[in-house]
Symmetry: C2
Subunit: 674 residues, 2 copies
Amino acid sequence: MSDVLSTKESHVDVLIVGAGPAGLMLANWLSRCGVVTRIVDKRGTKIFNGQADGLQCRTLEIFDSFDIAHRAWNESNHMLEVCLWNPDEHGVLRRSNRMADTSPGISRFQQVVLHQGRIERFFLDSIRAHSDITVERGVLPTSFQFDDSKASDVGDYPITVTLRTLSEAVATVAQRQQHHKSVDGTQEVVSDGLFRSNLVADDTEDLIRKATNDAESVETVRAKFMVGCDGAHSWVRHQVGFRLEGDSTDYVWGVLDIIPITDFPDIRHRCAIHSVNSGSVMVIPRENKLVRLYIQLKETERGQGGKADRSSITPEIILQHAQRIIHPYKLDYSYCDWWTAYQIGQRVGDHFSLRDRVFLAGDAVHTHSPKAGQGMNVSMQDTYNLGWKIAHVVNGYSEGSILKTYESERRQVACDLINFDHRFSRLFSGRPAKDLMDEQGVSMEEFKDALEKSRGFASGIAVKYGASVIVAKTEDLADQENGTDVRVSSAISKPHLATGIDVGKRMPSFKVLNQSDARPWHLQELLKSNGRWRLIVFPGQLTKPENMQRLQQLGTKLGSSDSFIRQYTPSCQTIDSVIEVLTVHAGPRADVELLDLPDILHPYDERTGWDYWKVFVDDKSYHEGHGEAYASYGIDPTRGASVILRPDQHVSWVGEMDDYDEMSKFFSGFMKPQ
Amino acid sequence: MSDVLSTKESHVDVLIVGAGPAGLMLANWLSRCGVVTRIVDKRGTKIFNGQADGLQCRTLEIFDSFDIAHRAWNESNHMLEVCLWNPDEHGVLRRSNRMADTSPGISRFQQVVLHQGRIERFFLDSIRAHSDITVERGVLPTSFQFDDSKASDVGDYPITVTLRTLSEAVATVAQRQQHHKSVDGTQEVVSDGLFRSNLVADDTEDLIRKATNDAESVETVRAKFMVGCDGAHSWVRHQVGFRLEGDSTDYVWGVLDIIPITDFPDIRHRCAIHSVNSGSVMVIPRENKLVRLYIQLKETERGQGGKADRSSITPEIILQHAQRIIHPYKLDYSYCDWWTAYQIGQRVGDHFSLRDRVFLAGDAVHTHSPKAGQGMNVSMQDTYNLGWKIAHVVNGYSEGSILKTYESERRQVACDLINFDHRFSRLFSGRPAKDLMDEQGVSMEEFKDALEKSRGFASGIAVKYGASVIVAKTEDLADQENGTDVRVSSAISKPHLATGIDVGKRMPSFKVLNQSDARPWHLQELLKSNGRWRLIVFPGQLTKPENMQRLQQLGTKLGSSDSFIRQYTPSCQTIDSVIEVLTVHAGPRADVELLDLPDILHPYDERTGWDYWKVFVDDKSYHEGHGEAYASYGIDPTRGASVILRPDQHVSWVGEMDDYDEMSKFFSGFMKPQ
């Protein structure tokens, strides 16, 4: 049938394959940057239940930079405490420890849990509010060509993809239906997540075959860039010939999303429960009274090739395992929202990019166990890293060289994730040690230590990008995980000027006050994801004449008609649209008047007057205390410092408050004069 | 034409006339309580600009109880500081004082400013999410009959109203259009708010005449209750024959909503600016870079009857006055969003209700100057007071006697408002005193003191309802403002058991932790406006055996099949649906297990298990400090206390933690056994 269809042709800056969290995060970024984007997904509908995941602090910070964090924060369940339950000396289950789930002080958010379908909804609403981009569902790429000769010109279209629109029947995957336990004798059905479990064969090949015979329309798309956000069985990865490297373990886990009926005291805390001999349970309390249980299935039959036999797994079997582990407490349910089972596998892609034109992100380049609540977060953070880079290259602000940093930065994170998950899974799946001499068992002290240490990693805050043209540091060039040829910046940071700020990490956030209206803001709230670079000037105490003088001199250079800010900003755009200057002085607020500061720090517009939203102060607020920003950032208020931030809030450079030349040198490494 | 239209007839529990903030607040309340409601407005469209107002702390607390506060909080401009500007000894304008706009500590919100149209939008979205109620626009009541013989049976329909649907042309009021100042020579137009100013005659009579000739449909509605939220020219008030009492002053004020172009340093703070001889300006910074200026017009021509001549007032004239007052600072604009002018009048209705069947609310019973930012707040709080009372009577939970408290409670507030506004307007409109001997001028010290003292009143938090059947107190029976025969409760409060809680005021809010998941909540966040009464048990330290014993005894009584909770709750509803029991113990959290507490404090449901969201603790949180709730409420943790809260968060009764008999006596004063 396909050959009788007329084949449309179109051009696009970016083609995104896959509309899960990674693909939607990318589409969302591009929607804010005016990039011509299409996003397709082979499934006919978005998901409606199951697939929950924890949201890390860092993910919530990123959401907030897109103005959607409040929706996740309000709807989600907040996890405050982790409780460890282990057999006591008599083999009876006891609470052995309580600790904070999120380390206090690392972020203004804490880890929460929310159904993935809601998160996708927030992205869809956000994309619609900022662009004409819509997710094209039931659309499948079926062929791929790459013209290597066009790859070096970022304005050209080296990628050719055939897209086929599936008929609705083909795009809608049948789910197995399970009968629902019910107290009143009526039977309801509950979704079965096995259709997306790694225990079930992928259906992409099958869909392509059907699409070739049965597509409702066919289209040829030529793209400058393509990003595969299409999951562990990634079609895009297969096309570019990359591989996932790593192994599956023997551990098989069942997952139940239920409203629990139980006398277990900590059912609304995150719990790691180790039984003597029956395996482990992870308790993840969720929204809407739901609790997710990850349950170790000790005696599952294995089929050929080491894969567990899916036909033997039912919600009743999973519940029975849980009941044995949680004994002597009782556990049952009337309502089950979703269930699945999976086998842990830890794998990382050997490459993340083909000539910086085709990229892979999310499950397409790293798979691991879901219990640590990392998967969706790391996937979204992949494309959060990539989105602004593609946008800046497409929009002509940046040279293509910045795209190399995607692989150098994100492959390191993926390897760290897999190492973390490997260690954590082993400890969590292991049988508790009977005593000090029991070397095969897991010491509960060791498990607790691992859990405590993992919190920094699990928060997403600890991610620190290596040296590159967009991260000016010298200390850890050797740390780069891969062979990508990443150029480094010729600008040199002076990290001792801001000892609380790590070059390469995301900028920490403390409260500062708007100079003009005394309103307190978390600094991060000022760093919206709108594609702008930011120079944050910390001039120190402006009551010191030498500080005011240095600031005036900096202001003169930044404000001049040949400054790097003006040089890299298209003349038709406002002066803050590519590199925005923010100022945070050391106070007191009442001793400084905005209009005494250089104009470039509060630019004038002839229709709207002065800009009152760019100068801030580290001072006491009326209602929310003192942010102590200078002390927390480790900046000397008698000397000051300046910081350059990437559009994704990561720190690029730290230097002297008025070191205009180093700032200029930094940007000259990759920006294109307009 | 009307007599050829077929006349529909319908019955409704509540007919609301007027869909401004007061009417929408009421419809919103009733949408949460399942009351059959209609709301009509004579205007064909909602408003789109102008009509801004401050939102008090208390209004935001109320919004939060309906889950809409975050929208107002995020979109609004936050006012943190008030600055006073006065002539110095040389007659030159100087900043003489800064102070917090909202007194620190009185609420978890601070005063903000947002366009009324957005607030109406939040209500409309909320109403739609909870009911089928829709605002019927361009619909005008044209006749009213009241059958006194039906007024004593709350199930009967004593009210008959004819509603006429206007043609679109008639319902859309013509606004005067003003040319817009523009830097590039193009001319834009700006809305003129005079059409709703009190300088323009009301058009209701005119509309009724047109409607009688030209209505597109006519309908007869029979209602149990009717509420007039139809503004200063209230048609409902005229029908029931009540009057507004009070006077207009000579002060005429202009209002400009502009994006200011100025070198005045405090343009983003609320400012009260007194010039030597040119009058006063109030600066109210708003959202979207706008600033509202209230500008005293000293030399406006008066027409007949003391009303200012509207034809002499233009935005240019108002701006010129502002420029004289703010001299030597410069003030201009390119963009003007809206403007109007008004003459201050302070009036209060002589009655608020006809036989507790027809009620008046908002501007229909109190008018005053807008500068204090009170109008919209007090209007919405009128119907927030009234909504749950009507709902409880309609739903058969309560006797009709509670409706009398609407007038006794809200007329007092209206009188307080008018007195406040009278004093504040006089001080603000007056010329600054030249020296101590200048008795005609206003002393700036006096003005500052008045402003400081006014903050409690202006926050809305200070409102304290008098003794009645639903407020059990004895201390201030004599304070009731009016002759309404309000019965009092036979239950007796013991206010010394909770010295931080005022019987009759709204419950103060401090942070407490959920016992089951350690999540911190502001206590007020637990008090959603869903129509429930609440008993909050503060049992003190449960590690003290006598406290645990008293709690167990209370639990036994509350949980028994003949308890007052069971008695007043329809048997088909959940046990917490009319009177919800919340517990806040004194900690530590880790020393108490939820399931050791009486079942009634965490009710069991056979489909969803135990209720984990009703028991809280006063303890330190992991990330948000210690709420110190017992200390702040003035409750002795070795003894405890109990508190009964109305569905509108006002405190009804304070007594011994386990004083079941007084609790029961309180509810027996007005609740109906089911």
